[in-house]
Symmetry: C2
Subunit: 393 residues, 2 copies
Amino acid sequence: MTDFTFWSPTYFAFGRGAEARTGELVRRFGGRKALLHYGGGSAVASGLIGRIKASLAEAGVEFVELGGVKPNPRSSLIDEGVRLALAEGVDFLLAVGGGSVIDSAKGIAIGAANGGEWRRFYVGREVKVRPAIPAALPVGVVLTIAAAGSEASTNSVVNLEPENLKRAAGGDILRPKFAVMNPELTMTLPPFQTACGLADMFAHLCERYFSPTKDVSLTDNLCEAVMKTVVEESARVMADPNDYQARANIMWAGTLAHNDICGAGRVQDWASHGIEHELSALYDCAHGAGLAVVMPAWMTYVHATDDARFARFARNVFGVGIGESDADAALAGIGAFRRWLKSLGLPLTFVELGAREEDIPLLVKTLNLNGNTLGGFRPLAESDVTAIYRLCL
Amino acid sequence: MTDFTFWSPTYFAFGRGAEARTGELVRRFGGRKALLHYGGGSAVASGLIGRIKASLAEAGVEFVELGGVKPNPRSSLIDEGVRLALAEGVDFLLAVGGGSVIDSAKGIAIGAANGGEWRRFYVGREVKVRPAIPAALPVGVVLTIAAAGSEASTNSVVNLEPENLKRAAGGDILRPKFAVMNPELTMTLPPFQTACGLADMFAHLCERYFSPTKDVSLTDNLCEAVMKTVVEESARVMADPNDYQARANIMWAGTLAHNDICGAGRVQDWASHGIEHELSALYDCAHGAGLAVVMPAWMTYVHATDDARFARFARNVFGVGIGESDADAALAGIGAFRRWLKSLGLPLTFVELGAREEDIPLLVKTLNLNGNTLGGFRPLAESDVTAIYRLCL
């Protein structure tokens, strides 16, 4: 086990109708005038935004609003949000949506607290020491998609225009103050988006589970517990999108997959996220779909580095490879993982994703390794990344 | 799954030498003048208190000190601490020790912030609605015993004199601001105290795991993950008290067993804690030792209420009862639990604990059920509690 710090101060209000508490929670965490930030029309059409406005008004919280966040959130909207927040004297960012809306709100929160400056805090995965973020407005979340875990995470990932680069900022200061989590709000998600969310949260666990650090039995067991839950509940939720209990278990799993309770005390990997971000930046595909293509390819490429770890994954998460050699079990586990992703209706190849073989050199170039390596489980050079992209074909 | 709120804002600094950060953390969480609270001479003799004083001085934090906390912490010392804190204008409570020291510090933190009033917030387990605590000074912890989980919990349990009643206060306001956790500090614990700590943290998981709430698969899987870790690592730590990795996994398990991450979304039980507290109040025995006597007796009395749950416990935590009927597996699990406690050198009976059969009516009387029931898994009346005490004989 490595030394670690862990701080997950987010207040979670979980359950049916929890969004009615939004105004009270904004006030509790110091907000008097909020920027209400959301995505497309569904949150408005469903009446959710209206309920939240009523809750803010009841709590005496003023607000201005900025909708229109797209998946792979764009820097231009963050710029607009920062201008609005500064002009209006906003003191709180309220994100209503999934990871893209939350990450966009985090970007605005940085800009509004640093005289408009936010972009320089967003860097690539290859940068080992992120620029420290000196200040950020408090962020609160009403979550509508179980996936990214940004409602409790230290991170924000956005698409920098005009270069179209997906880059991340990070720091404890970006942990949301509260997250309102009503599983009912996720019931109207299309199956593909539900599946993308499942792949995303599972990937967040894998990025932590596949580690060179030994003797972290508690964190290992926790990781497997959340992974098993995601796999078990995924079948229920795909069969019945209105299964409240399955939605609830998955929603909470998405949070615990990424608030770093499953990463405490270990070197983490994160190569697959780096490799995937270039795909969703270039093709504007769903992050979860990109991960479904990249993760098994990454596993196939790196498993021999520690077949015992992959064998444990196979046996404890998917119940395969029992009684087999570690090397065979490792392959059985990767196969089971692929079949699970397929069962969710997710793509497994470049073609299914809309990605092109001839873009691989460009993808590797924009990853911008600059002679550094990527990933903590097995450090990858550019040639390794190229090989992994080719395994996605 | 029931609706829930979850808030665990404690900052954890975990690893070798982490106590060097104490002064910095007191300042970070607003302390300028701390009451340094600890137990017996071992923390002084080991040099730990000296290192912490140096860290406070380096950070420019003033302090006064109050040692002498005993296991089952006494109300008279809390009274003394409150007087000292008020007289000295203390703005922060720094607890260096295990659960008793932390719980004593929490009591002082309440009293110092409420004009000396703290005792009325401490009530019995049978009280369904605890008195709300309007204010408390911030508490920080340097943990030296992996057991009670008070370093991240909402609770404080103390011994009210002169009646000798063990009573609890609770509320999010009692969550410590930070916990410094260096596993090396636990290496000098005598084996019996290490074992008591293991029983205590395992009991905290059982109190949450044995629940009438269905369909909480994530929290169930998390509970089992921590339980399994405690059992696995216990053998290593009893064999070699200086095994850093085992100490580290156990120390972190003790925190996660009681910060309520393993209780989210369910009705909890807590009958065994109520039944045990009367034992440690009357006989001044170690809480963990009392739990080792009470828990298996409680299990034996209640398992038929939900044999399927006890069978799952048997199979997933102890690996017994596989292929057997649920009723048989339940008994096999309770047997395995008993054998595990015995292997740690813990008592299993009243005689081993120094408790007496003729005191059972007094124990039931001081539990003070007043016609209420105790416990969420199977609500227990006074006659049930009497029967459980008799099963401890």
